[in-house]
Symmetry: D2
Subunit: 354 residues, 4 copies
């Protein structure tokens, strides 16, 4: 028996990625889809190359009263995500979102499964959700919730900071990004703007990365049932380059303790998703490349099926409390649909939904 899932905004570009990534998923079965246009059409008439079994799903409005799935994925655009996701939550649904509006809400766990799986405990006040055998039961017995995944630029940074912070107590980070075109959606960046150019600004991005990273690296307090954010000083510079997929980041950091064997720290990092053998978990969350000129977006973005973070150019100067490295994350896989699906897998496993 698979868990029945609904995709909100399924006909949008990111929504279609969810549909494709969930093809043949061992735990999840897409049974419902919503959209803001084409309501009433069949999914297969709008989205190309779908598996037979989901082509006939009728597109509904993004209205909780019409949805019966066990879990809801929300690849909605930010502009509408806040309101629609809140409605679904109030109606008792569990919503997994990669949109930004709820990420910093106190009662929304912001999750990278390898970094802070325990933050799901924020939801523990919720009486253990159960699979609704029918709609009435859910309405009576279940309280809804939202689980968010971070910005695509935050993912790789937080993933690599996690083992370093645990080991050496990081206190300051300076990160400069080289972000891919696909991160701006579609139509996104006009070709006339980026050809033979770099755009040294992405709206709101620098603040998001700083804030989200400190939430992700925060500690869950059993007593207050809340997250105490970490207080790393994080300085970001977010830039767009002419690369299709894959966010590259150049990182400088300072720790309170001397940093030793950072390669080993990265390579030995493994976490709950690996232990639980979640279906979408990469074998290694962080892959270290030792060549002098890696990671490179085009060559490395698909490592670990796009779910691993690739690290290279690890180097230290005379001050052993500082470290420099580059990292690469596939922004539309790990940084979007793939990250959300892995988060849903963790959630289901941890809350006994399977």
């Amino acid at each position: 028996m698979k868990i029945k899932v609904a995709i909100l905004g399924a006909t949008g570009r990111v929504g279609q990625e969810y549909l494709h990534m969930l093809k043949g998923h061992p735990w999840f079965e897409v049974v419902e889809a919503t959209g803001n246009t084409k309501v009433g059409s069949k999914l297969g008439d709008i989205v190309p190359d779908l598996p037979q079994e989901i082509r006939t799903i009728e597109i509904k409005e993004s209205d909780p009263s019409q949805i019966e799935s066990d879990l809801v994925f929300s690849p909605l655009p930010s502009s509408v995500a806040r309101e629609i996701e809140s409605k679904f939550k109030r109606a008792g649904f569990g919503v997994i979102t990669d949109a930004s509006p709820h990420r910093m809400d106190e009662d929304t766990p912001l999750i990278i499964p390898e970094v802070n799986p325990d933050h799901l405990n924020i939801l523990s006040s919720i009486s253990s959700p159960t699979l609704p055998s029918d709609l009435k039961k859910r309405k009576r017995r279940r309280r809804g919730f939202i689980v968010a995944t971070p910005n695509c630029t935050t993912v790789g940074l937080a993933m690599t900071l996690k083992p370093l912070h645990d080991a050496f107590d990081v206190r300051k980070v300076v990160m400069t990004s080289f972000q891919a075109l696909s991160g701006a959606g579609y139509p996104g960046v006009p070709s006339l703007d980026i050809q033979d150019n770099v755009i040294p600004y992405i709206e709101g991005e620098e603040q998001k990365v700083a804030n989200e990273t400190n939430k992700l690296l925060g500690k869950y307090s059993q007593r207050t049932k809340s997250i105490k954010h970490s207080s790393i000083e994080i300085y970001c510079s977010c830039n767009r380059v002419a690369v299709i997929d894959g966010h590259l980041e150049s990182v400088y950091l300072e720790a309170n303790q001397e940093i030793t064997n950072p390669e080993g720290v990265f390579e030995s990092f493994t976490s709950l998703p690996q232990k639980l053998k979640l279906p979408s978990a990469p074998e290694r969350p962080i892959i270290v490349r030792r060549e002098i000129d890696r990671p490179q977006p085009r060559l490395d973005r698909m490592a670990g099926n796009g779910m691993s973070t690739i690290v290279g150019r690890i180097r230290q100067g005379q001050n052993k409390k500082t470290l420099q490295y580059h990292l690469l994350t596939h922004n539309t896989i790990r940084g979007a649909a793939g990250g959300a699906i892995l988060t849903a897998e963790l959630l289901c496993k941890q809350f006994g939904l399977l």
Copy 2:
């Protein structure tokens, strides 16, 4: 009476840029050229689009005994620059070079005319060079010297640090570069390597930028007639992007004092080349763009005829001793031939060669 100059390696790609940039120069007249191939040919047969008056210059070997010019520009490749430049120096010539080998030599001033014009004083032990009316006189009376210009990635960083350091005592810099393809020479970067990609490594570059910047920001001591390097901690990350010309740099820095009105500090920065009205000096060494997404390589690289450094995205967090900004320098103009010619102009003016 113009100053007669020789171009070493004039038929190479950078050498040709010197020939073109010196067309119609008010002070300098190219009268000699050397090359490692085509010796004996006429310059106009090798280099296209030259002015009539220099087409008939015969290409000589890079041998000081065959050269009689007052000043020698050396756009030689690093591999041969050390040896040939040293020969010319020993033979009593003044050599202006943008090659790297001699940059960090103690007796070689490393000069950005707006940043450290006083470093030319290292040469003051040299009996004031005079225009040789004939070769014998020069051999008897003149001691040679080398004046170097910095790496193309160093220029913009040092230019912008100069007024900040003077005002606020900078102590740490983290710089991440987005460097243009032309910085790698020709044929340089294969298209298969950089298309849809970023290469996060440029050999030797990070160390050069750090070392050269501290030499440029150093103090000339009248007593020891030497430079005391500054001791800013500089962390660089040098990266190649698919841009034709223009090195963009993202800078984070910490100062010992609170930084106030950085825009004003940049915009009011002016120096000796502006005061002396040197022919190649830009009106403003640093141009501040206030738009939210500038500077951009394609849009801004030609500002100030490629001789200005463009700064934008100036921002501060809560800690007023830190600052972030982006800068852009045209790497083949200010970062190469243009920078060397401006340096020669300063040298001639300061040493009374005019």
Copy 3:
């Protein structure tokens, strides 16, 4: 006394190009501007870097009753050009347009000044237009007209076919284009569509090029006061490539006569604009490059200040009635504002408006 001109849609992207290209024009003076937004604002508040004298022009609606200029340039988008241009014509204005709607109208001369200057004779039924000393006079005495310039892809093709057709009677043309991004306007082509790609389709373009070329190469009949289109079979394939400016075209053609010395035919081509020394006329309408790998968009697009067509790779097989070559035209200069301004110069000169 300069001719007073109005720019319709002056605040749009192409409109701004007209404003910049008309800076310091010896014959034309921009005195009025219209727009569909910002009506009532000053031009200088909307368009950056304008000369002092036109900054204070107030933006009006595109309504002929509010305009008093002698000549009207219409860089309007196709969607509104038909209606607005017709209104201005009916109101007695002379309109020069690079929009497509009126190009194939029988009473609209479609003009490349070097190719078919005599087509302006279509307008000869119009009582010689005079400079309106006031609005009433114009309304009483003048009949309006529209003069169109061709599609940016047509320009280079017709320019190079003209001397060949005159000499050898061309009967068939197969043209494949490599069109620049700027030809699609702004925001135009999404970067995600064109990066590492070619888009083998541009809506409506192939038919436009074929039809316009046969009109341009047609003969003006004094008797019928109309154009008899030529009947060359023209097969086009229009494609978008990742180039900022400059439309490259690969041409194959067949003539009814043997083609001899095509280089000479191209190079000796000169026409009325050159004879009249019109201010924007390039010295040579067609420049032949003899290198084996030219023309190239980035290297050659600015030849003749962007007003010349560059031809290269001229070659013939055994059949001397066939010819192959490549051509390049700057699509936003010769193919848009520059072409329209040159056309206006021709018009004014020929109709005694000066």
Copy 4:
């Protein structure tokens, strides 16, 4: 029992592609490899990511006396291919090559398996080659041969012309190519040459495509045991664009008969490799895309695992004897290693080597 194959020049870039494409091949087993450097080393020490079983193969010189395999693949550079391949032929080996030197030799079949499988009959004078159980036997009983595959730009053109020529008797073709960077090898095209540019010339390519296509579409004569080339007039224009993989071609053609239902002709085309179910044969040699803007290199190059030719924009004007279309072929798969492997499969099947 698999057929033992040797790869000449296995450590070169194309050689490595053969090694990777032959991983797990059902019929062929790489047992020997040659190179012009690193002779004596193990293959696994030079080429990354090889399967365990071939890592220990020792690199030999390209000398037939040291090779014992049943079949030899030659991905050698043109400069050495002629001589080395001839040596192997004389020594009794069967050589499959994608190098150009022997392609137009009368006794060398030039093969696209779907287009002209019967051309292998040129080899029929050769006593049926048998698998050598030992070297002596081969030397005594076997005559060597070379089978060539065409230029990467020829493949898609000949593939699509084949069914059209059979049905409508094609007499003239005008083809303009948009060729990918990988077609120029590595380091190949400098990024400074192709960024924001198109290079309208590829040395020797246009003549190769014309000649090879007429050989491929030629008829095998049983009587003379030779190929009578077809005599289509073929005019090519070969151009390099900033695309990583995938050669796009724009085709215009004229036939002696009216062309009807070209889509159907393309889609129903199937040939011997499909009938024989050769392991590398694509299900459909030609895939027709009906969208208005396809094929596009980045979106379509991997169709049919890179072994199909994709056709789109099929259109006819009033003259029904003419046709226009675009085609796309993956130049490093179908146009190189993949094409050669499929050819070897056909050869082995047809000559009973299995």
